[in-house]
């Protein structure tokens, strides 16, 4: 088991609790989606997995070991890649190449090697032409793709993606779907777009009232809500409807 959450509760100060006993497990290479309305605590859950927030009760186990203190989380953080909702929060180095290399340098990899690895990852995502661009001059879509590169370069065993396609155009959407379908690592995607989750995940958990209330095959979930605003985007229908 890569991620095991048990009975997680969480409340922001002076506010209603957002998580009221969430339990959740993720196997290696499993690709799952979390769907729910705004403010339902999806991002909070990802931040708890990373140890950025401390749950008021419940346990977090990562790679089979319980994680509680900052030190314990620090040891496993580089094995989990979190893609933030806002790419501007993630890209803080002046140039793209430096930002992609940042995580590697933190892991103690030599600058020359880090540079090679960073360029390789950028090439894999067809972003190599952006290497020397200044991060704050990139477009929204470019920022998102570069942010994904900064996470993928660290070869995480598991990815956590927070609303990866919000506000992006269709072409960038497509790129992200292709990239996600092409990677071996498992991931958890938080989103409120059914179509996107149906194309990238196997299982979708629904998030409501601070709990994970149901789960199912993502194509089944997909079947009770359907429109074709993007007919050219490849998608599959639920078996039962065929």
């Amino acid at each position: 088991m890569v991620i095991e959450l048990e009975d997680i509760c969480f409340a922001y100060p002076r506010r209603e609790p957002v998580l009221k006993g969430v339990s959740f497990r993720l196997q290696p290479r499993e690709k799952i989606g979390l769907i729910g309305p705004n403010g339902s605590g999806k991002s909070t859950l990802l931040h708890i997995i990373m140890g950025l927030l401390q749950p008021s009760s419940g346990t977090v186990r990562l790679f089979g070991r319980q994680a509680r203190t900052e030190k314990e989380f620090r040891e496993v953080r580089t094995r989990i890649g979190l893609l933030f909702q806002n790419a501007d929060d993630q890209l803080f180095s002046p140039t793209v190449l430096e930002d992609v290399a940042f995580g590697l340098l933190n892991m103690g990899i030599k600058p020359s090697q880090a540079k090679r690895d960073a360029i390789k990852t950028l090439e894999e995502l067809h972003l190599e032409r952006m290497a020397d661009r200044v991060t704050h001059h990139l477009s929204g879509g470019e920022k998102k793709l570069v942010a994904l590169a900064t996470v993928l370069v660290m070869k995480p065993e598991i990815l956590l993606l927070d609303e990866p396609t919000t506000g992006l155009d269709e072409a960038t959407d497509q790129r992200i779907i292709e990239i996600l379908n092409g990677i071996e690592a498992g991931y958890v995607i938080v989103s409120h777009e059914y179509d996107f989750l149906a194309l990238t995940t196997r299982t979708v958990y629904s998030f409501r009232d601070g709990k994970i209330i149901n789960n199912g095959d993502s194509s089944l979930l997909h079947s009770h809500y359907h429109s074709h605003p993007a007919g050219i985007v490849h998608h599959s229908h639920a078996q039962s409807l065929k």
Partner: protein, 253 residues
């Protein structure tokens, strides 16, 4: 921070940023405490030589000098009439003091020499490599982080400010001299601070997620080349000469 001088390929651009920081600091300290015109003259000469090596656009340098000397003009207006001493000449009934004029002249030479030296030495490096250099020089981490992150997020904060201002303008806001305007600007600044703090928090979280442990590493590898050593010796000698002229009794005084 536009880094207009950082792009280039002169010998000064290629110099190790650590050396540039140390040299610029040493030179400014010596210049700041020197009083003899002979020493200050040598310093200006050195700054000009460095500038020639840096091969920077003259127009941009001139703009910077105009900015600096705008302040310096104030000294020329105030000091000759306020510093007590012996009158050197009179403008109408007002005596201009010799000591005040000398002081103003010193300040002018000092500030120009330091600015020119900084343009030639420090601004020919990008903020990032300077940050890396400061890190290698074991300057406090906090200082380095402040520099690097301010550099990165100044633009974002400015953009945020523009967005907020636009949001006010599209709802008919026209700045006037009244309480409503002051209140609006106060809200704007307040929300800017709140957002900046929230963003700082998120950025820190993003950094922690990628294994940040309180130290920035740079992709640039810092290796002192023989050329760097030559420059270090040259700059060291030049600063020492200014110091000797200033403090040794001799024919220069």
């Amino acid at each position: 921070m536009r880094e207009e001088f950082a792009i280039g390929d002169s010998s000064l651009h290629r110099l190790d940023p650590r050396l540039k920081i140390v040299a610029a600091s040493a030179l400014s300290i010596v210049v700041a405490v020197s009083t003899r015109f002979s020493a200050l003259g040598v310093a200006v000469g050195l700054a000009l030589i460095l500038l020639a090596f840096a091969r920077l656009p003259c127009g941009a340098i001139a703009r910077h000098l105009v900015m600096v000397n705008g302040f310096v003009i104030l000294f020329w207006i105030i000091l000759p009439v306020s510093v007590p001493g012996t009158p050197w000449m009179h403008i109408g009934p007002i005596p201009l003091m010799r000591e005040g004029l000398e002081l103003a002249a010193r300040l002018t030479i000092k500030s120009n020499a330091i600015v020119l030296a900084f343009i030639a030495l420090v601004s020919t490096s990008s903020v990032v490599s300077l940050g890396g250099g400061m890190n290698r020089l074991r300057l406090p981490d906090k200082l380095v982080h402040l520099l690097l992150l301010t550099y990165r997020y100044l633009f974002v904060i400015q953009e945020e400010y523009e967005r907020l201002k636009r949001a006010a303008v599209v709802r008919g806001f026209v700045p006037k001299t009244n309480l409503h305007t002051y209140r609006t600007y106060a809200f704007l600044v307040a929300i800017l601070f709140i957002r900046a703090a929230a963003r700082a928090n998120r950025v820190q979280q993003a950094m922690l997620c990628r294994g940040f442990q309180g130290r920035f590493y740079s992709l640039q590898e810092y290796a002192f080349t023989p050329k760097d050593w030559m420059w270090a010796a040259g700059l060291g000698l030049a600063v020492a000469i200014i110091g000797i002229i200033e403090w040794m009794p001799g024919p220069w005084s």
